[in-house]
Amino acid sequence: MRRAWTLLVVLALNPVATFALEVAKDLETSDQAQWVLQLLGSPQRAQLLSALPAERRSRMEQRLKALDGLSPEAQGRLRRQYQQFLKWTPRQRRELRAIYRRYRELPADRRVLLQRELRRLRQLPLDSRMRRLQSPRMRQQFSQEELDLLRRVAEILPPPVPAKLAGQPQG
């Protein structure tokens, strides 16, 4: 009987502990992002990068440089986007990262086209997005791989807020 109780308690607390660890990880990642943004332009960067193998170092340098080039407003916007991104479920985040890795493999001109299309899609309600993606015009314009990427992003992205609600504070 006592063993059954123990098992029950452990099973009941398991999701709680998992959630708590997930929250802690998010907080840590958020904190880390804050720290990364503060790192830009600081002398600590050289010290940080020196600990990395050459390939990873060059990739990090490239990404840090890209962030350096942003205006303070753009950095602020990116930070806000990141905070929103952290509110997604871990599964959604993994999904978007996987999409992005496939997106990165595409040629630069195709990426520009996809960016434009993503901007259009995010303005549409969910059902309109799917209708648009199924249209013959889109099939002519994009490859199967690109359409699949667009469809996956369209599924993850939240629908736009109606204009009359957009000004109201978020609950």
């Binding site: 907080l27 840590e28 720290w35 990116l78 807020v161």
Partner: protein, 165 residues
Amino acid sequence: MNSHRVYRQWLIWYVSGELPVNQARALRHHLDSCPVCARWFEEQLELWRMLSEWRLPEVTVASNRELEWRLELERSRGSSHAVAYGAAEWAPWRLVVAAAVTCALALVLSLPNRPGVATRSEPGTLVELERIEQVLEDLEMLQQLDLGLDEPGAGPQVSTVGTGV
């Protein structure tokens, strides 16, 4: 060497009176020719003799009362003994509290140092570097895809995602 081990096993059955007659005969023959096993046999006999002489104390009304009195005394000494004797007297709610405390402790230990309280001035560890790389990749992704997550109402979309990666 193996035969000695077999004979010793037989010896145990022999002294306890469980060895079949033909094996007992073979064993006695072996004991006549092997002083090592013969000495071991003597020791076993002595052990069995001592065991057979040992008697359990007789259970009487008086001994029962004494036992009850001792148990009562132990209970009245409080919960410290309960802990000492394990979780035998633990109520289920105590298990819940213990598990909750453990979870809280795990959460506190895994929480990052808050900015301003302690600085992240030790970025050299591999774990830290991997996290930073992940954050940088995420930032690059958000910048490149420009999904407008900072716009009002851009909360997470609920459960429409396909299989995770």
